[in-house]
């Protein structure tokens, strides 16, 4: 499924390509819409880190604005932030009315953040460890296991014809004979670890190698697979 876009490569070169990617963006948690207060606070921040406010893209989080009147002046807010070196790229949370107003002002609504509370814990919750999924049996031909938003850990072999997929890393305490796709939502830092590499296919963040492209010197070895400058690297795990 991830590889489908690559299959178009053989046809005539398209003018562009659409790809998913992950970015770290600054989120501006708005608590009140008092222009003067915002300006004062911004000036202070800019004094602390002038280089930071140089066309910095920001997402405006309206979670703290749920109680305020619905009619937020997004055009005014946009101008204000632009004038201070920030480029609003979208909003998050907010009431349906606020979201509609944001859309009218040309600001897309981004998916809500996972942390439900708006106190100080929010920031830490976003950095919290991802959920891993542990499969404590072998994965047989035809079975597919996916660990969304985390690592997949398999205690046993992954058979030929089986597929293991994770948004994060994949750890296989056994032989990998099937397909393993790590970082399927674009995490280029994801890795695959296995006790014996006999895979049909390994992929990280969409970069893949099929069985034929795995050197015989790498076969049946304990290995980790990761991306280095967009290239899949297979490294033996020796102790």
């Amino acid at each position: 499924m991830l590889l489908r876009s690559l299959h178009f490569a053989g046809e005539e070169a398209p003018p562009f390509e659409l790809k998913g990617s992950l970015f770290t963006l600054t989120v501006l948690h708005l608590f009140q819409l008092d222009r003067a207060a915002i300006e004062r606070h911004l000036a202070e921040k800019i004094k602390q880190a002038p280089s930071f406010f140089n066309n910095t893209p920001v997402v405006i989080d309206l979670e703290g604005m749920a109680d305020s009147p619905d009619g937020l002046d997004f055009n005014g807010l946009y101008e204000l932030l632009r004038a201070h070196g920030m480029v609003p790229v979208g909003i998050r949370n907010g009431t349906p009315m606020q979201q509609a107003a944001a859309r009218l002002a040309g600001l897309p609504v981004l998916p809500e953040s996972r942390a439900a509370n708006n106190d100080k814990k929010t920031e830490r919750a976003e950095a919290a460890p991802m959920h891993s999924r542990i499969v404590n049996h072998p994965i047989r031909s035809g079975q597919q296991f996916y660990a969304p938003e985390g690592d997949l850990i398999v205690l046993g072999a992954v058979s030929a014809g089986a597929e293991v997929i994770a948004d994060g890393n994949i750890h296989i305490y056994g032989v990998l004979r099937g397909r393993a796709l790590a970082g399927v939502r674009g995490d280029a830092e994801a890795r695959i670890f296995c006790q014996s590499l006999e895979a049909e296919l390994v992929s990280i963040a969409g970069r893949y190698r099929i069985s034929e492209q795995i050197e015989s010197s790498d076969r049946s070895k304990a290995a980790q697979i990761h991306l280095v400058e967009d290239r899949l690297i297979i490294e033996h795990l020796n102790r």
Binding site: H137, R140, S141
Partner: protein, 270 residues
């Protein structure tokens, strides 16, 4: 309460029905009340292997549809006491196997029997799924050949995820490997996968290795479960398999090449 055992493989022609017939016969020979059910609706074979094809009046689907009761459909084996056969219908298809119907028949059988052996059709569709759905244990029949091993691997995955035990989160279906049509000399030459190769891929306990043998074909055509051919290697291997299933610890025979003695070579071994 009876134990339900499915004999399955994924791939066709690997020896499921041969194994079902001999396994059920072996259990009955040892005094357990045993019934063997043919789940291959539309491609009825078990009755031929068991040699009771001329005594089929009603079948499994008739019982599911309440067109006959179990006593009318069950065929008592003439050679071995305690052994009954529930034949498949030849004129229907697998859609006739409803989950409720199969469950009702199995529950009725559970009362009077020690072991219920379900002979699965090939494939992973309805017939095969119904044969394994209610199983407590599974004999997975494999030949020493890559496609057969992969299909068995697939079936093991289905046992682990789509059986009633899996759905209810009970103790998983107990898996046993039966490696059939094994020829040690060909495995030694590398023409076939070896016992160890198959065990390494599938990773389930080995219940028995059945050697490739002419006797299997002959006895199939004669309608005699090969386990009744005491003098044949395949018959002996099935006997060992049944004993192992019942808890005896026996070494695996017929898995290594033996040098034939002079007399054996002269007269030919069986």
């Amino acid at each position: 309460m009876a134990t339900i055992i499915v004999v399955t493989s994924g791939k066709g022609g690997v020896g499921k029905t041969t194994t079902s017939a001999s396994f059920a016969t072996g259990l009955a020979q040892r005094g357990y009340r045993t019934v063997v059910i043919d789940f291959d609706v539309g491609l009825r074979n078990l009755d031929l292997i068991m040699g009771c094809e001329r005594r089929v009046v009603y079948d499994f689907v008739n019982v599911i549809n309440n067109e006959a009761n179990l006593n009318q459909a069950l065929i008592r084996d003439k050679r071995v006491e305690n052994l009954y056969i529930l034949p498949a219908s030849q004129t229907r298809d697998k859609e006739a196997l409803t989950k409720e119907g199969v469950e009702r028949v199995l529950n009725e059988l559970k009362v009077g029997f020690d072991y219920i052996v379900c002979d699965s059709p090939a494939g992973i569709e309805r017939g095969a799924l119904m044969a394994l759905y209610f199983a407590d244990q599974a004999l997975v029949v494999t030949n020493p050949e890559v496609s057969s091993v992969r299909d068995s691997d697939r079936i093991l995955g289905i046992l682990a995820s789509r059986s009633l035990r899996a759905e209810q989160g009970d103790e998983p279906v107990k898996e046993h490997l039966v490696l059939a049509r094994y020829a040690p000399e060909r495995a030694d030459r590398g023409d076939m996968l070896s016992v160890d190769d198959v065990l390494e891929i599938l990773g389930i306990p080995l219940l028995g290795v059945i050697p490739e043998s002419q006797t299997v074909l002959q006895s199939s055509n004669a309608g005699v479960p090969v386990i009744l051919e005491d003098s044949s290697e395949a018959g002996a291997a099935y006997s060992d398999l049944v004993d192992r299933f019942l808890g005896k610890s026996l070494p695996h025979r017929f898995i290594s090449t033996q040098k034939k003695g002079f007399l054996q070579r002269l007269f030919g071994g069986s």
